[in-house]
Symmetry: C2
Subunit: 289 residues, 2 copies
Amino acid sequence: MKVYIIGIGLIGGSMARDIKFLYPDSEISGIDVDTDHLREAEALGLIDKQGAMDELKEADLVIVSTPVDALLEILPNVLDAIGEKTLVIDAGSTKDLVCQIAEGHPNRRNFMACHPIAGTEFSGPSAALRGLFEQKTNIICEVEKTAFKLQEIGLEIFRKMGMRIRYMNPVAHDKHIAYVSHLSHISSFMLGKTVIEKEKNERDIFDMAGSGFESTVRLAKSSPAMWTPIFKQNKNNVMEVLEAYIENLQAFRSKLKEDDYEGIYSEMDNTNKIKKILKGIPLNKSQTE
Amino acid sequence: MKVYIIGIGLIGGSMARDIKFLYPDSEISGIDVDTDHLREAEALGLIDKQGAMDELKEADLVIVSTPVDALLEILPNVLDAIGEKTLVIDAGSTKDLVCQIAEGHPNRRNFMACHPIAGTEFSGPSAALRGLFEQKTNIICEVEKTAFKLQEIGLEIFRKMGMRIRYMNPVAHDKHIAYVSHLSHISSFMLGKTVIEKEKNERDIFDMAGSGFESTVRLAKSSPAMWTPIFKQNKNNVMEVLEAYIENLQAFRSKLKEDDYEGIYSEMDNTNKIKKILKGIPLNKSQTE
């Protein structure tokens, strides 16, 4: 299998590791505007060689795993360049615009719009992990627009990587993912910001930070180059969820101001049911600390 | 060593496990208003027997590890009941009020005001863990008000448990802990609430939740009975940090509304330095997922 990975960072690199493991005979080429990343990916053995766009005609699989702004620019060029039997997948955290961009392209049927919900707060080829996608959810949008034979090939790869598949329309995807992913990132970034601002004057504050702070602020380590275009492309949904979040925080603050401790108790008590809900999420690591 | 633990939940139970391990000859008695917890603690071997307040005269060590509202009520009674050589420690997440309560008590010198910054989102005796306090920070307030000999005994126990000690005045403690602990809990609870509210209408939303959501919402599993009195006792500081947090979220939302993506990028980029700061926090588990 000839594989081309465009954007060889955390996600592309992790896909490379899995493919190399699952298909030892595959040949993986990397394409990236960041030449340091390319060299690093080669040195780490994520890719066998550097590739070029004019080779895509020969590809069996092209994975576009760039930030979502670059994805919109690159995808039409990729679809122009591929062969008849090439499967193209993406890994973008927004799905509406990329589906719009692909719509009507003569090779639309070669494209499968994917969002493997997996990642860490780290980025670049050195962050790539074998098995990253195991038990993770992969959301596929507009699957009916992908050629049946290519669907089969893609699903087989995802199955071997251990992913659960969910089908969803791109508009619903972007709306829901704003709640369960994009909002978490903003809440974490702003928490980090709030505490860092305070810390300017209070040098010892982080000495007091325990694992609770650490887990809520973990996503604030994420890459701004990846997340800025996500927020841009999903602006309307993100604005809506952020508004709902701010309103809930303000209501909590009002209850505190008015000494409504019964209200505060029941807010938290009602939210405790997140325990049960989270148990339903696959791949929860045990959280004993 | 005769030890009495009043409030035998996550923290008291974990202290019991460590003490039993470090001092095999110690005899641990439990006192708790929740008789189910007491029986559970006995069944789990956390305590050797159930104790009573009128036995405290014989105690070498009394640990008051109840929610902080109960702590304020119980502490004076404990100080009334103990013997001359008894060391009393607490484990409350707020320190100003408890120090005020102890102030002027004839046995003030038997009390050491402590906040071991450790815990999980779980509660009750079954959540108790051996080694919970290893490499954690224990903040001791007004140490100079504790009898020197009893300080030594307390510090030796904490040292054996593996804790780092920091000394702080109770007002500064409560101000700083509002940033690095209390705010994290509110941000997490309100994140959980926001997403649960949405989920009422959108049943499949949690199917999309990945580990990012899980880590930001982890603290929303915490006990309302523990956290309501913490927010009450630290109301002014919590109001202040919550206000700062809401302002940062609103500023982020304004930038998004005005399509100021450079601004959004640099917000996140500046906050990325949390990576370096967190590396300085002891006991970070490796976060590779």
